[in-house]
Symmetry: C2
Subunit: 385 residues, 2 copies
């Protein structure tokens, strides 16, 4: 085995945001020398990695030259220059997740086509090279409202997704490649994180439930374990495994799914990396998703994905009407509550809805944890000075 620990081995990471920052906790624990590339010199990882490089993740030369300086390359964000990764891989660099998987996943239209080809259950959809083609299809009634418009590229956190009730809703959306997806009435949005190493060892984390705000279309709580029937949970874990198998994936794959009214499980989309829906694992699981990511890409044995206790995550996003130097109002109040751990991502500047951190609530009883989570959400506020 290659000696990764306290050695001259260099792990490269594309992206230096909060996911990278939480990954660094694990590379520090295992003393793996970590080199990070990010466009922002104040990125959350900048000060605390072993070596920070500033540069554009979408620029071929920047990514290629960065890759030449590391022994193994991974990502914490999927929007990176894949052509550079292909060339690096051709030249012998180990890259996990694999560039070909990233290419498929980076484009939501390709991702949907992939599910269709592989027999993975997913909502029906039609693919359009341009938004104008979709508009034409709506006018000609080959696509009927309501449907879900999804931009093929660069969507994240609800950006690039819109429920279209009439053709007017398309007006202010960006042009470019997109899909029109059948609107699925679902009773739960679930997620399963799958870890797989090069040797083929594969494990799933428990199914988590994303609880949405009843009015705003925003995930409020990620709850582990999901409060669902065991049969449904097993079905969701099985489908997540199928997706990872279909990709022949190495690394961490977060599979987001809908549980429909009749308990059908449909894959919504995947993320080829550590994921917001797995943050609870830092406190609640035997192996956090970040440690598992390290284990999987280095072809180490995977850790136990079971939970020690129930875990709930609440995102800390910038409050509306607040832009400027951040203050975590009432953080000391939430620290008074047992089993509550804030994670702040190292961003000095807040603006409305910016992801600034998260809070994990652990408890032996998931319902008690859910009550505390609500209390936390109602107490702590991300405001400007």
């Amino acid at each position: 085995m290659k000696n990764y620990f306290s050695s001259d081995f260099r792990l490269g990471v594309l992206g230096g945001g909060q996911l990278g920052r939480m990954l660094l906790t694990e590379t520090q624990k295992l003393d793996i020398y970590t080199v990070i590339l990010d466009g922002n010199s104040n990125a959350p990882c900048a000060q605390i990695c072993n070596e920070f490089h500033q540069g554009d993740l979408l620029d071929f030369d920047t990514v290629y030259n960065f890759g030449k300086q590391v022994d193994l390359l991974t990502i914490e964000i999927e929007n990176v220059n894949i052509d550079a990764l292909d060339k690096l891989e051709e030249e012998g660099l180990t890259i996990f997740p694999k560039p070909k998987n990233l290419r498929t996943i980076q484009n939501k239209a390709l991702q949907k086509v992939f599910y269709h080809e592989q027999g993975i259950p997913t909502a029906d959809f039609t693919r359009f090279a341009l938004k104008e083609d979709l508009e034409k299809a709506v006018l000609e009634n080959t696509v009927s409202t309501p449907f879900v418009w999804k931009s093929a590229r660069f969507g994240y956190d609800g950006n690039g997704v819109k429920i279209v009730k009439s053709i007017d809703d398309l007006q202010n959306l960006p042009s470019g490649e997109c899909i029109a997806e059948k609107l699925i009435p679902f009773k739960n949005e679930l997620a399963v994180i799958v870890a797989r190493n090069k040797a083929g060892e594969i494990k799933t984390y428990p199914v988590v439930e994303m609880e949405f705000h009843p009015e705003a279309n925003q995930v409020e709580y990620v709850i582990c374990p999901a409060r669902i029937d065991e049969t449904v949970a097993n079905k969701a874990r099985k489908i997540a495994l199928d997706v990872a198998d279909a990709f022949d994936f190495v690394g961490l794959l977060a599979v987001e799914m809908f549980q429909t009214e009749d308990d059908t499980i449909l894959v919504n989309e995947v993320a080829p990396r550590t994921h917001n829906s797995g943050h609870y694992s830092i406190e609640a699981s035997y192996t956090s998703q970040f440690e598992q990511h390290v284990r999987s890409i280095l072809n180490l044995p995977l850790g136990n994905t079971d939970s020690k206790v129930a875990g709930i995550m609440v995102n800390l996003v910038g409050a509306e009407g607040h832009t400027g130097d951040v203050i975590y109002k009432n953080i000391e109040e939430v620290l008074k509550i047992e089993g509550v751990t804030p994670h702040l991502y190292g961003k000095k500047h807040t603006k409305p809805f910016r992801k600034m951190g998260h809070v994990t609530i652990v408890n032996t009883d998931v319902n008690k944890a859910r009550e505390i989570a609500q209390q936390v959400k109602e107490t702590i506020k991300v405001i400007a000075k």
Copy 2:
């Protein structure tokens, strides 16, 4: 409340070893800007803190000048220049633990006198300004063998402590201030970590047991919870609280104790900081000792000290006969076992008995954890390349 998070607040830490490194995980999590002073430019913290200063921790000017650049000062090692801390405190800097506590604890003779004055149960002892005075006392039979010689200054990890069976055993020991302590036959060595903040909130972690190697006089396993009677455990927690009260302590205080044959609890010594006996808490406790240290010195509410699961720690020390660039032999074998987490301290060079890292084993069953701990200890080896 002062705003410590994602702000311009500067936390200073004297010492940049492994305890500082594990503290950084927590200051990163809470985005507290952390500035570290250590004599070694390759100290475990050097690359991953926000700001690293190289300098001698025992030099007045170095410590004083460092203190002038931070908003609150703490330590991860107690052997620092206390005169500089006194001056900084006089000039208004907040320092936790308090310099006066560090002065008492830094000198084992003063520490013992303090217990005596405060009515804290501890083994009987006699104090000597010089080793030669002790030799004279032995010759004159005012001190009788066997006894335990302890150097007043700079002892750590078994250095500065020796069981003296005859006067010849004193020969190769350093001169200087020392104590002769009554040799106590004990059945267990226990430890309790107490956390206290400025507001006076105080909590104890569960009692842990230090299991020694049957032949070598070396702690092999730290076991939480200690496999002892609850009455004895409560007595130990009570005495640890008494010690913290007596010191009017702020921060983390690790209290090491003997459980004698008749279940008397005697205080052996204390450490005014996070401690090897609390490393299990990272994986096993609701609040790790390192997060608790941050909470206590910043006068934040203290976290829950209960355990989620049983935890055992095995130290990773350099194997005999191995000096050079480190290799963690069979680390992949121990990663195969569920509930096993290695922590490597970022030291590139191993030598016999150097503390290079530790491994935590967690399990719902402490006896099962103990079995796995033995398996881990027999498998992983810290050798040179």
